[in-house]
Each structure stands twice: as structure tokens, then as C-alpha cells.
């Protein structure tokens, strides 16, 4: 028995004529090919599903952390201190009663300016400093808006020759600016997403 017959490997080494191929052979090969594709697809879908589940879990975790952070921000920072925000703007509106003369003289002007700056300082200590530890950008944005308001109020009271005892002029040059800034800050707090 020669080597090939002994190990029964004639099938592998004997070349097969192309004409010997039957339809069933092609069908067998196609089935093997389709099976391979199916295996690849199963592996791909399995891995895709695992990744999708992992991503969804990570997203859910981020959402939970953000939700807890926002709830804490609301419960511990905003709710207990919101009264200070309201007081600050309401106190500024009392400028209407404090402006007693159509011509604000130097003494009254210094007194009113001092009142405005003292209210700004109280607002910072009672409200905005609490935000500094949570979010620096939000703190800076609020600080900048309050600064802009107080600079404008001080300038109107000190530099203008407006009769601020006139209700319309007071509303335009003082009350409007106070209410506008209040609405801006409330909007900032509402739109805060915890990032």
C-alpha cells in the first residue's frame, strides 16, 4: 500500500476536473458560506447589543448623577436662599421712597450709592457665595449681571440730571433695570442643567 492509499488522502491530492462539479457541490459550498456569514452576523449583533446596553447604562448613570446634583442644588442652595434674591431686588425698588428730591444733591447721592452697594454686598454673601462652591461659571455670570445693574444705578443717580421722583422716569431708568436683571437671574437658575 503506497503512502496515499495508506493514509486515505486521495481526495485531497487528486485534482478534480471542473466538469465533475455537480449542482449539489455548489449548494454545499453556498451553505457553508451562508453559515459563516450567519456566525459573523450573530457575533456582530451580540457585541453590538452588549455595547448598546453598556452605553445605555452609562447614560442612565449620568442622568441619575445630574438629577441628584440638580435636586441638591435646588434643595440646599436655591430654595433656602431664594428669599435673599427676592429681598435684594425688592430692597432696590425702595429707592423710589428714598429719592425724595427732584435734584439729587451730593449727600443724598452718596447715601443712595452706599445703600445700593451695601445691598449688592449682602446679596453676594447671602446668595451668590453659596453658588460659588457649586458652579464657578454660574457665580461669575450672576456677579457680572449684578455688577452691571449696580454700576448703572449708581451712574444714573450720580451723573444724570433726571428727576427720578417722576414715576415714569423712575420706572424707565431704575425699576426697569432692576426687574430686567431679576428676570435674567431667575432664567439663569431655571436653565441651569448642573454642568
Amino acid at each position: 500500500m503506497d503512502f496515499q492509499n495508506r493514509f486515505n488522502i486521495n481526495f485531497f491530492v487528486q485534482s478534480k476536473d471542473v466538469t465533475d462539479f455537480k449542482l449539489s457541490d455548489i449548494s454545499d459550498l453556498a451553505q457553508v458560506f451562508i453559515a459563516l456569514i450567519n456566525i459573523c452576523l450573530v457575533i456582530y449583533i451580540f457585541r453590538f447589543e452588549i455595547k448598546k446596553t453598556k452605553d445605555a447604562k452609562a447614560d442612565e448613570e449620568i442622568k441619575n448623577i445630574t438629577s441628584v446634583r440638580l435636586q441638591g442644588f435646588k434643595d440646599f442652595i436655591i430654595t433656602p436662599n431664594f428669599i435673599h434674591l427676592q429681598d435684594f431686588f425688592n430692597n432696590l425698588l425702595t429707592l423710589k421712597q428714598k429719592i425724595t428730591s427732584s435734584q439729587i444733591d451730593e449727600l443724598l447721592s452718596i447715601e443712595l450709592n452706599s445703600f445700593i452697594k451695601s445691598e449688592v454686598s449682602k446679596f453676594r454673601v447671602n446668595f451668590n457665595d453659596a453658588i460659588l462652591n457649586v458652579n464657578r461659571n454660574l457665580f461669575d455670570t450672576i456677579k457680572s449681571k449684578i455688577e452691571f445693574l449696580s454700576d448703572n444705578l449708581v451712574t444714573v443717580i450720580s451723573d444724570s440730571n433726571l428727576d427720578l421722583t417722576d414715576s415714569d422716569l423712575f420706572a424707565t431708568h431704575i425699576a426697569f433695570q432692576i426687574n430686567y436683571t431679576k428676570n435674567e437671574i431667575v432664567a439663569l437658575l431655571i436653565m441651569y442643567k448642573g454642568d
Binding site: 447721592s109 450709592n113 460659588l132 455688577e147 449708581v154 451712574t155 450720580s158 451723573d159
Partner: protein, 109 residues
Amino acid sequence: MEAIIDLSVFRTPGSKVFTGRDRGIFVRNNSKIDELVSSSDHIEILVPDDIRSINPSFLEEFLINVVQKLGKNNFYKNVFFKTSGRYKIEEDLQEAVDSILREENGLSK
């Protein structure tokens, strides 16, 4: 050696207040206070008599580098504001200095 900065040189014509960060930066650059603090033992800042307010927003930008360089105690020892009018600057100055240091250190007060 003592250096003198006269704020009347830097006031907006007709204005009785110094407010705003932009104005503070302008006066800081043009008065060269950052260089004077290195070359002088003391700096005296003259406030015009008829000034009615110098807001912390202005002071923060005007003094930021000086306060950061000297620290709180040395700042008050070396930099003096001379006011002879009715307006007193102490509270606004303290608010500005504390705010500058808070920028550096987070919450300080």
C-alpha cells in the same frame, strides 16, 4: 520713595463716579500702577473731592495685580487713598480687595 496717582486725570469729563471693569483696566494701564508698586515704597491715590462713588467693579480691575502681588496686609500698608470730599472709599475698597483675593482662593469670607 512715594508715587502719586491722581484719579482726576482719568475721570470721564463731567462724571462723578468711577464704575465698570473696562474703566478700571483703562486706569490701571494708563496710571502704570503695576510698575509703580515695584519701584515705590508707597503709592498715594488722590480721589477728586466731588466724587460720589468708586464702585468695586472699577477697583477690582484697577487694583487686581497690586493686591495679588502685595497680599491684603501689605496692600493696606503700602497703598493709600486720599479723599477729602464726603465720599468715603473704605467699604468699597474692602469689598474689592476681598473679591480679588476670593478670585484667587475660592471662598475666603
